[in-house]
Symmetry: C2
Subunit: 160 residues, 2 copies
Amino acid sequence: MQFSKSTDYALHALIHLGQSEHPNNIGIKELSATLGVSESYLSKIMSKLRQDGIVRAVPGVNGGYELARPAEQITFLDVIQVIEGRQQLFECSNSNSRQHLLLAEEGTVRDQKRQGKCECLVAKVMNGAEQHLHQYLRERTIQSVLDEAFKRCDYEADKK
Amino acid sequence: MQFSKSTDYALHALIHLGQSEHPNNIGIKELSATLGVSESYLSKIMSKLRQDGIVRAVPGVNGGYELARPAEQITFLDVIQVIEGRQQLFECSNSNSRQHLLLAEEGTVRDQKRQGKCECLVAKVMNGAEQHLHQYLRERTIQSVLDEAFKRCDYEADKK
DNA sequence: TTATTGTGGATATCGTAGGTCCATTTTAAT
DNA sequence: ATTAAAATGGACCTACGATATCCACAATAA
Ligand code: SF4
Ligand code: SF4
C-alpha cells in the first residue's frame, strides 16, 4: 500500500511547471534534468497528465509542457488519480462466501444487483476511509505547496 | 494503490472469530469454509496475525484460533499494518535531485541527517494524508462492525 | 501414544511497476 | 517548403511482490 514512484514524479514535475517564471514552455529535457528521472520514463508520465487535461503539450522547436489550468485548481487528488487509476482502495473479493450473507445489507440486495455496488459493513468502513483520504487530498493543491515554499523563502530572507 | 486480498481475508477471519459464540477455538478448516479461501493460503495469513499478537493459536486436537484480545481492542489499522506492512504511504525517491533543494526545509537540514527523516513540503502533505487515514482506521474496530451487524439484525427482526 | 492441527520453507505463476528504445507525428522557426 | 526540435505511442525488457499450493515438521490435547 504505497503510492508509486510515478505519482512522486508527476507531483514534482507539476510543481516545477507551476513555479516556473518562463513565458515559454518547459521541455522534457529540463524536467528530466531537474527531477533526475530519465526522459523516456518521465515523458510517459507527462503524456498521461496531458491525456487527463492536467497539462498542455506542444511539440516542435521551443515546445514543451505547461499547466493546463491554474495551479490552485490542480489538487493532489487529481494527480494521484491520473497516475494510480481510480480503482477503490478496497474491493471485496469474495462476495459469494457464506460470511457475506451475515454482513451484507439484506434490505438493499436488489440495489446491489442493479448497481453492482456493495454496501456491506466492511466495505462501509473502508470506503469511509477512502472518502476521508480523498477529501484531504482534494484540499491540497500544487499552488498550496508553492505558497508555502515562497513563505518559507521570505522567512529565510528576513533572517539574513 | 489498493489493499491486498490478504487484508480482506484477515478482516473477515477476525470478524468470524469475534462473532463466534463457541467456547473452543476455531480451526483453519472452518475459517476456510466460511470465507471461501484455501486452507493453505489462509493459514499463512493467520500465522502473520499470530506473530503480531492479534490472535492466539493452539495446535492439536480441537485446536484452532481465537482473538488474543477483546474485539474492541483490535482496530482496522492494526490488521492493515500487520498484513500490508508499515511502510509509509509516500516515500521520496529522489531527495538528491536539484528540485529537492527548493522544497526541503533548509533550516532543519541537520535534523534530517540525524533522524533520516524528510520534512519537505511534498512529504508534509502526503504524511498528513496518511495520518488522517490512520486516525480514521484507528477508530474502527472489529467489535464496531459486529455491533452494527447485531443492530441491523435486531432491526430486521423487529420488522417481522 | 497418537491423531489432529498449526507452522514454515520451497516453489510456482502471474500481473504490474519501473524503465528503455525507437519510429512516427506534430509543430515552430527559418 | 524545409528542417530541426520536441512530444507521442508502441514494443519490449526486467524485477519483484501478490496470490497460491504442497509438504515435512512441530506442537498439543485427548
Ligand atoms: S461482507 Fe462485504 S466485504 Fe465481506 S464478502 Fe460481503 S460484500 Fe465483500
Ligand atoms: S522535496 Fe521532498 S519529496 Fe521532493 S525530493 Fe525533496 S524530500 Fe523528496
